[in-house]
Symmetry: C2
Subunit: 336 residues, 2 copies
């Protein structure tokens, strides 16, 4: 079999590749009973005395490297911080491995590093180690960055992606589709002006605020595969369903317009600064309130609730119902 | 400035790129006073109660992916385990981020994963999390793998690369040059038969045996830049010199012959299963004895000793002396 773009696009085809080629050929997949490879959560964990060390790794191949709202450096650090954060762990440190093409401009590299530094400072996360490799011209398109995050939580306090229970409320922390659609619009080089920008941002502040209230049952950041994938993964892993109100899903008018023009479902494209959170019903309003006070959470909404039937159902604005399926793959390649 | 191959080759040019573009633009470079980015050690550390969590990351771009003695999977896991090991920390877990070219053969991917699994099992290190991305055909040569290792040591027990003192003995755990020269010979497609194989192997067993004796002052695995770079880094960081006996450096006859034919200094090419270790003089023989009993340490030798003058001096077989300089760059590109 030949690997195709869809195998890296966060949907069903990627899940299949991962379970058939990777998971089935690895024997040792967890440490001390922590979250491991088989769990396919946003990060893994290593229990250690009173703590859980939380680890997540992510390769970044985004094209172009600089885009409206950010660049590969901001994306790499934010994305890794977010994967640690949705486990309910405080991000502490980043390991930064860069592979650069021969002939790459060092001024552009410097811009990217400065961008990483900015997110590191904003979140109080240190970049403690790294690696730099160079590949011959023609062997790599510009550069790729793999960042690995290390975070920490009290033992037993990490949040998994399978903890939803019937009756829990679903919070979405802001507007959907911005990253994928902004990237796509920019790459297509639309002739008209668009103010669309990626939402790339670190969301630890949001998570921290929510955890202080308590009652957070499950979280996921809707990156590859978008909101559709995140909701389905959360539901499937918790063996529950959801009912989501379309009217409540924050979405920018321009994102909706460009999506329609491109024929892309905005629920299926990557977001880089959002969280989908399942919370205890009685605490949902309190959590929403504190999230809205954070830098990146002002537009948060309760978009639905957890149900018994095993589907993610969308109640449309017109009063109809349709199933939100997990996408086969992200419709927009190389957005992260 | 355009990035060149030498900027990724482990020598002086890489050091300059790293300090001028990377280190100077990052503010937060360590956590809780642990080993951080500025230390440019083989790994970083995060002190946590009675422990130090040790983290190392490495991007692997080796060409070809399959070579005599191993493949990119074996190299990635071994290399990362080795970086954790030379810090004196027990390797616990690996995060595995793969970026694959569209059209890559899934059977080859499976071979690589199986190879990773084998080293993981041999060393008791788990592969606990990962990431898979795909890049369009023509944008990436086959695949790259970034592995990040997490290890653990008792607080204050990690071994740094700057702990050498005058009088310490230098142990080299086996023959030098095998990886770089085997790769080069294979790539050049020599018409004659060569039995040269990469030395790629995980060396935690060697480190563990040495640590049980005690008296280990500094360690480094001589990868990019080879033995010449490792000795110079150890000496420079400890503000000492060394005198090394050429006769004592284990080197295979065939490695010497091929090196001469290619005009490459075998001391300057990458090794992937060796350690250079500075140890207390009185314990050196005991340490050597236990190292020689391990799977990959049978040919270990005491190759020299730490001196006051700030150079790495080689006493040649003929009785002469010459300075071993840190190479400007590894003479063989893409060997790791």
């Amino acid at each position: 079999m030949k690997i195709s773009m869809s195998h890296g696009a966060g949907g069903e085809m990627m899940q299949n590749l991962i379970s058939e080629i990777i998971l089935s050929n690895i024997q040792k997949k967890s440490v001390n009973g922590g979250v491991g490879l088989d769990d396919l959560d946003d990060a893994a964990s290593i229990p250690l005395d009173g703590y859980e060390i939380v680890i997540s790794t992510d390769g970044h191949t985004i094209d172009p490297l600089f885009f409206p709202g950010g660049d590969i450096g901001k994306l790499a650090i934010s994305g890794t911080i977010n994967d640690i954060s949705v486990m309910g762990a405080k991000p502490l440190a980043i390991a930064n491995a860069m592979i650069i093409s021969e002939g790459f401009n060092s001024e552009e590299l410097e811009r990217i590093i400065k961008s990483m530094d900015q997110i590191s400072q904003e979140t109080g996360t240190s970049i403690i180690t790294g690696d730099t490799k160079v590949m011959e011209q023609g062997k790599l398109d510009k550069m790729v960055i793999t960042t690995t995050g290390i975070g920490i939580a009290e033992k037993g306090k990490i949040i998994r992606d399978n903890g939803l229970e019937v009756g829990d409320k679903i919070i979405l922390t802001g507007s959907i589709g911005d990253h994928g659609i902004a990237l796509m619009a920019y790459r297509e080089g639309f002739g008209f002006e668009t103010s669309l920008k990626s939402d790339v941002a670190p969301i630890w502040e949001i998570v921290e605020a929510a955890l202080e209230i308590g009652g957070v049952k499950a979280m996921k950041d809707p990156t590859r595969g978008g909101l559709a994938n995140a909701l389905n993964e959360l539901a499937e892993k918790s063996s529950v369903g959801m009912i989501i109100e379309e009217d409540k899903i924050p979405i920018k008018e321009e994102v909706r317009a460009v999506s329609e023009m491109l024929g892309i479902d905005p629920y299926e494209v990557a977001n880089e600064g959002k969280i989908v959170m399942g919370v205890e019903s009685e605490l949902a309003d309190d959590i929403l309130k504190v999230i809205r006070r954070t830098k990146y959470g002002a537009e948060a909404e309760i978009i639905g609730e957890v149900t018994e039937e095993k589907h993610v159902i969308l109640e449309t604005s017109l009063g109809g119902k349709r199933i939100i399926e997990a996408p086969i793959a992200d419709p927009v390649p190389r957005v992260c």
